[in-house]
């Protein structure tokens, strides 16, 4: 690869700094390169590979796209996809030691399994809420002494009943026709083993909660993802043949499976790059003076390894689709703005 195209397509990780991080593929950055955007070129280059898809986790590659686009999807995932979360807590009784505000805060952060697309945003100033914009949960629990506790019991779990309040104790109360629209399995907390509070005999919780639709920008509890992020595909180039003890040392500098030491028929043991994708970019090879000049660490600028961890309200693939929809909506809005401002499209 020549220097220019390497500069254009690779981020280089050097010992003390990273170079060529900026995106340069727009017209007139480099002479002799046509960076004008074209649909054809994009379609040819653009690829999405789904690497791993689980209930809550999704890993996919986006290749041939600008960092801005990938980042926009990430940002929207974090901040602009709505979910349902506890927003209002009506505390009728709380004799536990957890303060009302702290309890309400904890309840807010519990992920709620409910499809936010089926609900509306609540109107500002509306305290009551309607079936379209509100889910109501109830938490009524009282801790008592366990009359059947074994004689030698010492732990609070044995001695008392309901000594721990979990998210599973939250009960969904349908309002109006919600009972007909949704099944009990549709609307619940994602996990039922999140500890909310610890109680002791005589302590009692009695409260109602209103879940509303909101976005992560407003409060992190509305964020549909635990995290959404991406990294660039690492690339390792060995600049010379590394063999013997050095090869072993080199392999140790990277995560398992990145470098393999191949036994040649002539008895030499030579390091080969096996799977650079597994590299964590820890750059530990720079520890060794004799190796640091024989390895070149780069990352591919337009190959994004994205990962999305859903909190459980929606599956991660749906979330990405939703994010793209939001992005498209934003684009459309922007184009309309351009149109109305009288600025012509390209």
């Amino acid at each position: 690869m020549d220097i220019i195209s390497e500069k254009r397509t690779r981020v280089q990780l050097r010992e003390y700094d990273v170079i060529d991080t900026e995106t340069t593929d727009f017209p007139h950055t480099y002479p002799g390169y046509d960076d004008a955007w074209s649909q054809d070129k994009f379609e040819k280059k653009f690829k999405v590979n789904i690497i791993k898809k689980e209930d809550l986790n999704l890993e996919y590659d986006m290749i041939g796209v600008d960092a801005a686009i990938t980042n926009a999807i990430r940002r929207i995932l974090l901040a602009e996809i709505p979910t349902m979360a506890v927003e209002k807590v009506f505390i009728y009784n709380n004799t536990s030691i957890v303060q009302d505000e702290v309890l309400a805060h904890r309840l807010g952060l519990i992920p709620i399994k409910a499809d936010p697309r089926l609900f509306e945003y609540r109107q500002e100033g509306d305290a009551e809420g309607t079936a379209e914009d509100t889910l109501e949960f109830q938490l009524q629990i009282k801790c008592t002494k366990n009359p059947h506790a074994p004689k030698d019991a010492t732990t609070p779990e044995d001695l008392f009943k309901n000594s721990k309040v979990y998210s599973g104790h939250m009960k969904w109360i349908p309002i109006e026709n919600q009972g007909e629209l949704y099944k009990d399995s549709d609307i619940k907390t994602v996990y039922d083993d999140i500890l909310i509070a610890k109680l002791r005999p005589g302590h009692e919780l009695d409260m109602k909660m209103h879940c509303v639709k909101g976005i992560g920008k407003d409060h992190a509890k509305f964020s549909p993802v635990a995290t959404a992020s991406y990294r660039l595909l690492p690339e390792i180039t060995l600049l010379r043949e590394i063999e013997g003890e050095q090869a072993d040392r080199l392999a140790k500098c990277f995560s398992n499976g990145v470098i393999e030491v191949v036994n040649y028929p002539d008895g030499r043991r030579v390091a080969k790059v096996k799977n650079a994708r597994k590299d964590t970019c820890s750059r530990n090879v720079f520890q060794h003076d004799d190796l640091k000049d024989s390895v070149k660490l780069t990352r591919v600028k337009d190959h994004f390894i994205c990962s999305v961890e859903s909190t459980g309200a929606l599956p991660p693939d749906t979330l990405v689709c939703e994010a793209i929809k939001v992005l498209m909506g934003k684009c459309r809005l922007f184009l309309n703005e351009l149109d109305s401002a009288g600025v012509g499209r390209l």
Partner: protein, 1129 residues
């Protein structure tokens, strides 16, 4: 005593002792962190108080020679409270805190006295109440298990050592002072040498000086009007021959020639005999007014009395023989003579061996003795007055013993901190302080604090600087900045402070070990160059020829447990003396004994300790470990590490990190930090909020800061474990990215992640209490609490009373806004005079509303309401108000390395950078904070924390130890991270790779108590002071922002006269006055009262304060006259 062993095994390397630090928890288990306070108080209430009683045990009366009263014994009971008349109930500290009572126990005495002709013995007669120190031997908390403590609402980690007086926790701070009864040779301001002794006995405290003036030696004492030539004093003490005097001082040529002029002076004064000398001195005594008191004494008697009781009071004089006192004085002279030729012999006042620490027990005993003496003299006065009267009932002194004098004396002293002991002319203020409960560390830090008696204003660096002799005894880091820097110190982790011990057995022992009694010696033998003098607590015991044997045997006996472990003995070769010390207030510290190049503690011992079959005390009893005080430490050769043991080594340090105190012990890797940073952290750790005690939710404090989700630090230290900081943490592990972000992070500001705040980072709870008492007055009226006022139209409580319950007190859970009433109290309008009642009609008492109103920018919630009663008031109502706060811009945070900063920006999570795993920082810190501060410890904490998080364990950052960077790096590499802790980050804003590697990992951050919400203040219009009509001052009074002198100067410099006029008058206290241009006085409504005319009246605007000044001047016969002229003329 260094026996050079020729044993070949010495050269063989000894296996390094592992887990030597485990001795430390064992030490703290038996001693505790605040042991010095508790020990000294225990000593006071068990031993010292009995001594005081015995010293003042008999009361007689001048009126009846047969009358007497004798104290037989004294007891301190168990803490209780009085509920009604003569009904008491045992109490616990928490009850006293809540009910604003004093945690005290009755002092009872057994007495024997005469009633008429009868001899009566009465036991357990109360004479007062003694405030009880928490966790002392009389406290209900001692020896209780954590579960039992929980039942008493007490935190098991609470150190105790303080008092509860009227519901307030008070600490008697340790006071550092120069040791009593010791000679100090020093240079005075004129360059002359002087020897000073501050003698202190139970009766008296005096200072005796011997000075040099023009080559003559004088005794200087403030009871003499002029300095007394020393030879005259010797003669007055019965040492009449000059030869004897010289023999005592020293017979070498130099001494003789230097001292000769002083003898000559005596001859010139024609003083040859004791009587002459006494008369000479008697004439120089300052005349003191003596009321009444005994027959008038002759000057000779007076001088003799003075010599016995006042001069060098700590040297006892038996039957008018001054021999020992004369020898002591001769030694003082000798020290001066020696110091004159050899300046090295001048003592260092700041040397810590010359210091004693006065603790709660000794301070209380001074106070108690004073009160007890006053109590007795009052009893005597009553007896004198009442016995001659003839009454039906016989005089019974027991009926005149009032309890309140001693009780109130003790309580007021502790609650105000004013220590007034008349007989010592001692008047100290600020002896006690309110225990700071801001955090657990602040409370603990306060208990280990040592206050110096030195004046803060004097500009000398000596007492403030770190003395090498403070090594291991006082924390080198923990001292405040500013005026009291270096004067307020803190104890190190293993320091123990001694209490007084019996001298009698030590004296006997010393004589048995070959010390020749001073009483049997002549002066010559005393100053003989072959012998060493032996001192016990500043008094001369005698001389010894083979001092090494004495010291050696003494130490052997101590190690074997025949002598108390805190008795110290050490030779001073420049003084040619052996000093034995058993007095209280010495700082000491345990060390492992090393014999023949091997530490006495072996791995086997440590294993026994591990298994729990060996206690720390056993190490002492078995002679493996011993305590050394500062002086003895300087006679020893202590190895810091086992590897550095040589043939000369006598002791081995238990663990080097114990030289730091409690607060500095929290810092991870403090040995990598620049030292002032550790000092800053010591001050800041006390402001960090978190957990203050396991009983924090049961307390009703005036102000309490708690963290919603406190964390254990990822990088901890041994000290952190030892002081239970992990159970009562104050801070959170924040994921920190050290990078520049946005520009809102300059000057130490930090950028916070909004999502982290949403998830509870830095969230804190602020509790404030409101108090209200309902009193009953002398005229049978009383305060009352009424229910809410109901609005006539809506039938609902008015807004102000919205939060009130039917009983007129706000209910728990209620949200209270500013200016709402929490207790609707009203007071009778007339409380003093009896109320006229018309018979037949029910009593009508007018009441005035005095509601308890909540004030604050943000609303609070009522957490709990306590209704109780205490001794004085009928009812006591306390409300606990709660606020929950999330961090906002301007809140102050700090790491554990003296790096504080305010929040400069709260950034959205999506804007934050993230690493390859998608981790976002909670907090971004600007790297400019590092180079100039050199807090390398923080860098190490970050990597240590990061490796710990990845491995699921805690790393140690213990001082002079801790996890090594290599170890940490290995763990990072193992987990696929860069070995330096630097990650590759992606910008959350552009989505591009950042062009630098970012130092990224968890650092323990403390939220400090300074929050914007408590400080924010602005005003446009608002209240004004009544007198001057100028805006009020201060945030609490919604005051104005002052345009001060310097700002004024600035405006003058700019010539902005109209702005000046506006700021200083129009916006402040502009006032329209009428001025009579004829007389220049102020008129009123267009009329000059002086001129009786309205012709020359002009109306002008002046500051009201100016008008006020004119009127005040007039009131003292100064007439300010105003002359007006037209501006445009």
């Amino acid at each position: 005593m260094w026996n050079i062993v020729k044993d070949p095994t010495v050269t063989k390397p000894v296996k390094e002792l592992k887990d030597k630090w485990k001795l430390l928890p064992a030490f703290l288990q038996v001693k505790g962190l605040v042991n010095q306070h508790v020990d000294s108080f225990n000593y006071f209430i068990t031993v010292d108080i009995k001594k005081i009683l015995m010293a003042n045990s008999k009361i007689t009366s001048d009126a009846d020679p047969l009358f007497y009263m004798k104290y037989l014994n004294i007891h301190i009971g168990n803490p209780d409270v009085e509920e009604g008349f003569n009904v008491t109930k045992p109490t616990c500290p928490h009850e006293c805190r809540l009910r604003d009572m004093t945690y005290s126990a009755p002092i009872t005495v057994d007495i024997e006295y005469t009633r008429g002709q009868q001899r009566v013995v009465r036991n357990n007669v109360p004479i007062g109440r003694m405030p009880i120190m928490l966790r002392s031997s009389k406290c209900v908390l001692t020896g209780k298990s954590p579960a039992e403590l929980a039942k008493l609402n007490e935190c098991p980690h609470d150190p105790g050592g303080y008092f509860i007086v009227n519901g307030i926790e008070k600490v008697i701070l340790c006071q550092e002072q120069l040791s009593k009864n010791r000679m100090i040779v020093e240079e005075d301001s004129k360059g002359g040498i002087a020897c000073q002794v501050t003698s202190s006995t139970h009766e008296r405290k005096t200072r005796t000086n011997i000075i040099v003036k023009h080559g003559h030696y004088y005794l200087k004492h403030n009871s003499f009007s002029e300095d007394i030539p020393i030879a005259i004093v010797f003669k007055a003490m019965g040492v009449e021959s000059d030869q004897e005097i010289v023999q005592m001082i020293g017979t070498d040529d130099h001494t003789l020639s230097v001292f000769a002029p002083s003898l000559e002076e005596c001859h010139r004064a024609q003083v040859y005999t004791q009587t002459q000398a006494l008369r000479w001195m008697g004439n120089k005594i300052k005349q003191r007014r003596i009321w009444g008191g005994g027959p008038k004494k002759t000057p000779i008697e007076e001088a003799r009395d003075l010599l016995i009781t006042t001069i060098l009071a700590h040297i006892p004089t038996e039957q008018f023989t001054f021999k020992v006192k004369a020898m002591y004085m001769a030694l003082m002279v000798r020290r001066i003579i020696e110091a004159q030729t050899n300046p090295k012999l001048i003592d260092d006042r700041d040397y810590y061996g010359n210091k004693r620490v006065e603790l709660a027990g000794s301070l209380l005993s001074l106070l108690f003795e004073d009160l007890f003496k006053r109590f007795n003299s009052e009893l005597k006065m009553i007896a004198d007055k009442n016995i001659p009267k003839i009454k039906a009932a016989q005089f019974d002194i027991i009926k005149h013993m009032r309890q309140d004098q001693i009780t109130n004396g003790l309580i007021t002293a502790i609650s105000t901190g004013n220590w007034t002991v008349k007989r010592f002319k001692m008047e100290r203020v600020g002896v006690t302080q309110v225990l700071s409960r801001l955090s657990y560390i602040s409370a603990l830090g306060m208990m280990t604090r040592i206050n110096s008696q030195f004046e803060k204003t004097r500009k000398v660096s000596g007492p403030r600087s770190l003395q090498p002799s403070q090594w291991g005894m006082l924390c080198p880091s923990d001292t405040p900045e500013g005026e009291s820097c270096g004067l307020v110190k803190n104890l190190a982790l293993m320091t123990h402070i001694t209490t007084d011990m019996e001298e009698e057995p030590l004296i006997k022992l010393a004589f048995n070990l070959g010390v020749e009694d001073v009483h049997l010696l002549s002066g010559e033998e005393l100053s003989h160059p072959d012998v060493y003098m032996v001192f016990l607590n500043g008094g001369i015991l005698g001389v010894i020829k083979d001092y090494q044997r004495l010291v050696h045997t003494f130490r052997i006996l101590r190690r074997a447990g025949y002598i108390n472990e805190f008795v110290s003995i050490f030779p001073n070769h420049t003084h040619r003396c052996v000093y034995i010390a058993s007095d209280g207030g010495r700082l000491c510290r345990p060390y492992i004994i090393v014999k023949g190049g091997r530490p006495m503690v072996t791995q086997a011992h440590l294993e026994e300790l591990n298994r729990g079959v060996r206690q720390f005390e056993d190490f002492i009893h078995d002679g493996l470990i011993e305590y050394l005080d500062v002086n003895e430490e300087n006679d020893s050769n202590v190895a810091l590490y086992q590897t550095s043991i040589s043939v000369e080594t006598t002791h081995l340090e238990i663990e080097p990190f114990t030289l730091l105190g409690v607060c500095a012990g929290l810092i991870p890797y403090p040995h990598h930090n620049q030292s002032p940073r550790n000092t800053y952290q010591c001050a800041m750790g006390k402001q960090a909020m978190g957990t203050i005690g396991l009983n924090q939710r049961n307390r009703i404090d005036t102000l309490l800061y708690l963290l919603a989700y406190p964390h254990r630090p990822m990088v901890k230290s041994r000290t952190i474990e030892l002081i239970n900081f992990e159970q009562l943490p104050a801070g959170q592990n924040a994921t920190v990215a050290v990078m520049s972000y946005s520009g809102y992070d300059i000057e130490d500001a930090i950028v916070m992640n909004k999502a982290s705040l949403d998830r509870g980072f830095g969230r804190c709870l602020v509790y404030r209490s409101q108090k209200c008492t309902l009193k009953r007055y002398t005229n049978q009226t009383f305060d009352r609490v009424l229910g809410p006022m109901i609005d006539a139209t809506t039938r609902k409580p008015i807004w102000k009373h919205e939060v009130l319950d039917a009983d007129g007190i706000s209910a728990p859970g209620e949200r209270v806004e500013s200016r709402q009433v929490v207790v609707n109290k009203s007071m009778p309008a007339v409380t003093m005079n009896p109320i006229q009642t018309t018979p037949g009609q029910p009593q009508q008492v007018e009441h005035r509303e005095v509601p308890i109103v909540y004030k604050g920018l943000e609303p609070s919630y009522v957490e709990k309401v306590m209704i109780s009663s205490n001794n004085e008031e009928a009812f006591l109502i306390k409300l606990l108000m709660r606020q929950t706060r999330r961090p906002e811009i301007g809140d102050k945070f700090s790491s554990r390395h003296g790096q504080k900063g305010v929040v400069g920006l709260i950034a959205q999570q999506e804007d934050m950078p993230f690493n390859d795993q998608g981790i976002c920082p909670d907090l971004i810190m600007n790297p400019h904070g590092y180079p100039s501060r050199m807090t390398v410890g923080k860098l190490l904490e970050l990597v240590g924390g990061k490796a710990g998080v990845l491995e699921g364990k805690f790393h140690y950052g213990t001082a002079f130890g801790g996890s090594s960077i290599h170890e940490i790096s290995k763990e990072l590499i193992k987990n696929g991270f860069n070995y330096l802790g630097k990650d590759t980050l992606t910008s959350g804003i552009t989505g591009e790779h950042l062009s630098g590697y970012i130092y990224f990992g968890p650092i323990y951050y403390q939220k400090l108590k300074h929050m914007v919400m408590d400080k924010i203040h602005a005003r446009a219009r608002g209240p004004r002071a009544v007198l001057t009509r100028q805006p009020t001052e201060g945030r609490s009074r919604e005051g104005g922002l002052r345009l001060g002198e310097m700002e004024r100067d600035c405006l003058i410099g700019h010539g902005a006269s109209m702005l000046l006029l506006e700021r200083l008058m129009l916006s402040s206290d502009a006032f329209q006055v009428d001025v009579c241009n004829q007389c220049g006085l102020l008129g009123y409504s267009g009329w000059c009262h002086y001129c009786q005319s309205s012709r020359q009246i002009a109306s002008i605007q002046i500051p009201y304060a100016c008008k006020l000044l004119f009127q005040e001047l007039q009131s003292m016969n100064i007439i300010p006259r105003l002359k007006l002229s037209k501006y445009f003329d």
